[in-house]
């Protein structure tokens, strides 16, 4: 057994710094590169892409990246784990194989985790009265009808660990939890038993610290952002994991950024609910047991994490179409910028009412005055410019579309000193809403396929 392994997090979301994964591999020792591509909204985008072209539906950036990493992977120095397979992990693997062939590279194994996609099973599940009730409202899934666009079970670390046991050097999954990507190599390398809840919780906490990339290493750092060195070359986080469950959070040598108690604490608290019950498919972690210690510069030790048994259900994330929205902006300059923007808002609302358009919501913000903090903001003195930002949302496409034609006329028919309309009129876009549900674990079975090129 290895005395420790180093796991680096190369993407906090799809669209994160493109150079980060390569920097992690090149600037210091690394055993595993993990990459989370899937925010809630991403799965629905990828399902739409797959519907248009059955060979697509995965994070396409992954293919050239994996090909670039193949020399390190083939040499046995590096393994890569990612949920960038999205709605089509097999398609992603085939694209990687094809690109590798064109580059004359072979002699490596790719594991794929399938079975998280419930869309093909919806009729069967509902016929057996698996209601997939909305966790927030209690409504049954039948109310959505054909508006459902994606439905994915969150798998944990176990299917990934199994793919590694079967020899995979690259593991491509669909909806695997962010934390599971990081926990999996620990489970595999250190042979942690399934019911060792404390160590699973320790690996889960490490995964939570890593899952948003550089948010653990000085990015978006509220305590003292000026103190973070060289944000332009920020190092993404590395978890140095030990068989007993202790983890040291660090970053590669020579990179920018900061790993301190404060940066790690901010990320630990990010997007959590009750800290005593952080629920994943792998365990329930208790964040109130975590002990942190700064053991050296850019090295924070995480220990003493306690965990409870995993629950009997998987979480399911579903996305459905919920109407249309459009958002437009116009910028008003000094003098009386805010007053003019407020007057323009009243004019638009009057015209929309005169037209008899129907919306679920019309929302106005004054960027530069109060958009972020609403009534808590106290603009001081006279503002030099204010951006009027109006959005509408509703079920009627034609009404939302018509709203988009009511902003530009303000340039010639409203208050003076207005600009910022070069981008064209706001177009309606689909509103995608979320439907969280639970499904008994016995209903879903991950399928693992490992193949070599």
């Amino acid at each position: 057994m290895k005395p420790s392994i180093r796991i680096g997090s190369g993407q906090g979301f799809w669209g994160d710094l493109l150079t980060a994964p390569l920097d992690l591999v090149r600037k210091g020792p690394l055993d595993y590169l993990v990459m989370d591509y899937l925010a809630e909204v991403t799965m629905s985008i990828l399902q739409k892409q797959k519907r248009k072209d059955p060979s697509l539906g995965y994070a396409r950036d992954l293919v050239p990246l994996l090909v670039e990493l193949l020399p390190s992977i083939k040499a046995g120095r590096l393994k890569v784990i990612t949920n960038g397979g999205g709605a089509n992990p097999l398609g992603c693997r085939d694209a990687v194989f094809a690109a590798a062939r064109s580059a004359g590279l072979d002699g490596f194994s790719v594991g794929v985790v399938l079975g998280d996609d419930l869309l093909p099973r919806m009729a069967e599940l509902t016929s057996r009265e698996i209601r997939l009730a909305n966790m927030e409202t209690g409504e049954g899934i039948e109310t959505l009808g054909d508006r459902l666009i994606s439905a994915n079970v969150y798998f944990g670390a176990e299917p990934v660990a199994e793919a590694l046991r079967q020899g995979a050097q690259i593991v491509i999954t669909g909806r695997t939890t962010d934390t599971g990507l990081t926990l999996a190599p620990m489970v595999y390398e250190f042979e942690w038993p399934t019911e060792d809840w404390n160590r699973r919780a320790a690996g889960t906490v490490a995964g939570h610290i890593l899952e948003c990339g550089a948010q653990a290493t000085g990015g978006n750092f509220s305590a003292d952002w000026r103190s973070v060195p060289d944000l332009a070359h920020i190092g993404f986080p590395v978890a140095e994991a030990y068989p007993d469950g202790t983890v040291v959070i660090t970053k590669q040598p020579g990179t920018g950024g900061l790993v301190s108690l404060q940066t790690v604490k901010e990320q630990l608290l990010y997007e959590i609910g009750d800290p005593r019950t952080y629920i994943t498919p792998d365990c329930v972690a208790d964040f109130t047991t975590i002990r942190l210690a700064q053991e050296d510069e850019h090295r924070v030790r995480v220990s003493d994490v306690r965990g409870l048994p995993a629950t009997k259900t998987y979480k399911v994330s579903m996305a459905y179409l919920a109407g249309f929205s459009a958002i437009g902006t116009l910028t008003y300059s000094w003098p009386e910028a805010l007053e003019k923007a407020q007057a323009a808002d009243r004019i638009v609302r009057t015209r929309l009412a005169d037209l008899g358009l129907s919306f679920d919501e019309i929302h106005t913000e004054f960027v530069g005055a109060s958009a972020c903090h609403g009534p808590l903001a106290h603009p001081q003195g006279e503002l030099n410019e204010v951006t009027l930002r109006i959005g509408v949302r509703g079920s009627r496409y034609q009404d939302v579309d018509r709203f988009g034609r009511e902003l530009a006329p303000l340039v010639l028919t409203g208050p003076p000193g207005v600009t910022g309309f070069a981008g064209g009129r706001p177009r309606p876009s689909d509103v995608v809403a979320y439907w969280p549900a639970l499904i008994p674990k016995a209903e879903v079975h991950p399928e693992i396929i490992v193949e070599s090129l």
Binding site: E136, Q215, S222, Q262, I272, G273, R276, L292, G374, V431
Partner: protein, 108 residues
């Protein structure tokens, strides 16, 4: 004396459905009891006023010198439905740090 929460704590916020979470961390261990005493869920709810439609829940993490708040109904329908510029509540942490607290000087 009057201090801003910003002076004794730092914070990060994000979204969980239509709820926002704000993690508030004491800048020094000695400030944690002040946070526990002063930052009651009722006070946080009142601070945000109409910006938060539902309840405010508070959780304590003494091991990190931190509190976690869940602000229900704070995001105008949730990350992808809301029309707000700050769709995911990323700036709500700073909005909370605006709060003013009256603290005995010996505690600072």
């Amino acid at each position: 004396m009057i201090v801003r929460l910003l002076d004794i704590a730092h914070a990060r916020s994000g979204d969980k459905g239509d709820s926002a979470n704000i993690g508030v961390i004491a800048r020094r261990p000695a400030y944690y009891p002040i946070l526990v005493r002063e930052l009651t869920p009722e006070r946080v709810r009142a601070h945000f006023g109409e910006m938060v439609r539902g309840e405010v829940e508070r959780f304590e993490l003494p091991n990190l010198g931190a509190l976690n708040f869940l602000l229900h109904g704070a995001l105008g329908g949730g990350g992808t439905v809301t029309l707000r510029l700050d769709a995911q509540g990323k700036t709500l942490a700073a909005a909370l740090l605006r709060m003013e607290l009256d603290i005995p000087e010996r505690l600072l």
